[in-house]
């Protein structure tokens, strides 16, 4: 068990392409960190640099306080779980688990004890003498995890370990990974592009975009206080609504519609208004928010997803199963649940929002 410090790390490929730019993360002992981002954001590269499979172009990586930039993967005291399991196909499950220990010269009785322990923990005992070929996807993934566990490493590195499993199994295995990590208390670094996996597993989330950190925080921090439009749209399902508009004296102009909310003075009037689908309520009160034109409805059973447009831009909202959507409705969102972003930079603007008094007449207001 150890802490991991990633300190101003860069990855530059021959030819000048930068996969990772100035990433610093300090991971506490026993913490479960999830690196999340779309494909090509550098999350796997970063993980592989910690593992030692990829060279570090600049910066430092420390595991348990020890600088490991030039240390072989086997000497870094880490264990890795791969997306395609990477089990040795010609070895039985038992041999797969024992291979790493055998190479390190661990005494035989100890190897047997550790393999037995891991097999018990992962319920792999009946399969110990089978070849990986004869196992299901979930069992193979458990063997891959077992191979990591038997090493008693300082840190687990997971590279999208659940991507090859079907949806149902993914949920089960997600729970198993979480439970196992809790129980062993081993520092873990987990890469995924699935925001749900990231939210449910992480102690802290690191959202990466184009090789740079967009935001680090607990899942709830990231969800409730997204630092940029990128984070806002990536985390949460269905995604946050982002409407491009302008801040005017009378409120936000979204296309031809006006949303009567006021902000403090802004440097740049071009803003993006963000709000989560679950914070939307519909009303027929003409004095409320902008007009929502219904597009289509998705029934999810427990609730329904209402899709439509506001000022020509797509908006989705969740509603109760009983809700009867109308062709045209007014949309309201509590002021403290509205996020403002600079359209130019995508960064969050920390400007308070207050409702404005309606302008006397109750007819639809046009900007």
């Amino acid at each position: 068990m150890a802490k991991i410090d990633i300190d101003h790390v860069f990855k530059t490929y021959a030819g000048g392409a930068q996969a990772v730019r100035d990433v610093s993360i300090s991971i506490r002992d026993g913490e479960f960190i999830v690196l999340v981002g779309p494909s090509g954001c550098g999350k796997s590269t970063l993980l592989r640099m910690v593992a030692g499979l990829e060279e570090i172009s600049a910066g430092e990586v420390r595991i348990g306080g020890r600088l490991v930039n030039n240390v072989e993967p086997a000497e870094r005291d880490i264990a890795m779980v791969f997306q395609n399991y990477a089990l040795y196909p010609h070895m039985s499950v038992r041999q797969n688990l024992a291979y790493g220990l055998k190479n390190r010269g661990t005494p035989k009785p100890e190897i047997e004890a550790r393999v037995a322990e891991a097999a018990r923990m992962l319920e792999l005992e009946p399969y110990l003498d089978r070849k990986p070929r004869a196992l299901s996807g979930g069992q193979r993934q458990r063997v891959a995890m077992g191979r990591a566990i038997v090493r008693h490493p300082a840190a687990f590195l997971f590279d999208e370990p659940l991507s090859n499993l079907d949806a149902k199994l993914r949920v089960t295995m997600r729970g198993e990974i979480k439970r196992l990590q809790r129980r062993l208390g081993t520092t873990s670094l987990y890469v995924t592009h699935d925001q749900l996996e990231a939210m449910t597993l992480a102690d802290r989330l690191v959202v990466l975009n184009k090789g740079e950190i967009e935001q680090i925080g607990t899942p709830l921090e990231i969800y409730h206080e997204p630092a940029s439009t990128f984070v806002a749209s990536f985390i949460g399902s269905p995604a946050m609504n982002l409407l491009q508009g302008r801040s005017t004296e009378n409120g936000f102009a979204i296309g031809p519609d006006l949303w009567r909310l006021a902000t403090g003075p802004l440097d740049d009037a071009a803003i993006t208004i963000g709000f989560r689908p679950e914070d939307v309520t519909f009303t027929r009160d003409m004095r409320a928010g902008p007009e929502f034109l219904l597009d289509y409805v998705e029934e999810l059973g427990a609730q329904k997803l209402v899709h439509g447009t506001v000022g020509g831009q797509a908006v989705s909202a969740t509603a109760t199963a009983e809700f009867q959507p109308q062709e045209s409705m007014r949309l309201t969102v509590p002021e403290h649940r509205i996020f403002l972003f600079s359209t130019a930079t995508g960064k969050r603007l920390r400007t308070p929002i207050t409702p404005m008094q309606p302008a006397g007449d109750f007819s639809p207001v046009k900007a």
């Binding site: 593992a51 993967p73 264990a79 395609n84 040795y88 196909p89 010609h90 390190r104």
Partner: protein, 280 residues
């Protein structure tokens, strides 16, 4: 579903007959006496001299020096075939391992140079090779017979393709498991390539077994005769009214065919797997 009909079978039967008949004729003819064959030509009817012909071929001390029998020639052919097969596999696996897994300057260029030598048949370089072996004093030795032909572009090419299809994660997992380059090769790569090795073994064994020109150049001592050369030897006794021992030549050809056929029959499952599917 398509159902096979008579015409499909007919095509297959004709094909099989074309392949099998010469072998059958060689066998049946070998059971007749030399004079019979000389008068009546090839025959499909088995004769009654099977046992004695084959016994003669295998055990009679023949040749110009009178000290080389069929069994010794069989032994030489085996040494040549096995030497070629094992040597070529070891060498081409190592070469392919270097090309695929190690980054060194001009690796791709080197691979293509090796690959283009596929276009050059042995005959093109046979005289320079002979000259080198002669200067090294390796004429009439197994080393001289086997070593110059060990470098194999075919083998290197096949193993390269195979290694390239092994997922990178396996190498990475092995690195994290503390396996160095040597351990990874022995513990992971070699066991993974066993079907490929089997396929290569058969191809290379047959290649070595059938070598004729090279052994003829490299050895002038009858003690190194192989079966293939033995067949030729039987037929060059056309002096005066003597009839060549056709029956013995045929018998030896049949014998020369047996080990490669046995090998293919025994290993055919592996052989097909090695060349068609990747077992990962």
């Amino acid at each position: 579903m398509y159902r096979t009909n008579f015409r499909d079978h007919l095509v297959l039967i004709i094909g099989s007959l074309m392949m099998l008949l010469p072998v059958v004729v060689a066998f049946t003819t070998s059971t007749h006496e030399a004079a019979d064959i000389h008068m009546n030509g090839l025959t499909l009817v088995p004769g009654d001299h099977f046992a004695e012909t084959y016994e003669t071929v295998l055990t009679r001390q023949g040749g110009l020096t009178g000290k080389v029998a069929g069994l010794t020639m069989l032994g030489h052919s085996l040494i040549l075939g096995l030497g070629f097969a094992i040597g070529k596999i070891v060498l081409s696996m190592l070469a392919a391992y270097a090309i695929v897994y190690f980054r060194f300057r001009a690796a791709t260029a080197m691979f293509w140079i090796i690959f283009t030598t596929l276009l050059l048949p042995l005959e093109v370089r046979i005289l320079p090779s002979y000259e080198v072996m002669h200067k090294l004093g390796l004429i009439n030795t197994y080393t001289g017979l086997i070593v110059p032909l060990l470098a194999s572009a075919t083998g290197t090419f096949f193993f390269r393709q195979f290694f390239k299809s092994v997922p990178d994660e396996l190498l990475e997992a092995a690195r994290i498991d503390g396996a160095g380059p040597f351990k990874f090769f022995i513990d992971i790569l070699v066991p993974l390539s066993r079907t490929m090795i089997a396929a290569m073994f058969i191809i290379m064994f047959v290649y070595g077994w059938n070598q004729y020109l090279w052994p003829m150049l490299m050895t002038n001592d009858e003690g190194f005769y192989t079966l293939v050369r033995g067949i030729k030897q039987i037929l060059i006794v056309w002096v005066g009214s003597q009839i060549p021992d056709y029956n013995e030549a045929f018998a030896m050809a049949v014998l020369a065919m047996l080990p490669p056929v046995a090998l293919v029959v025994i290993f055919q499952n592996w052989f097909i797997k090695g060349l068609t599917e990747s077992d990962k």
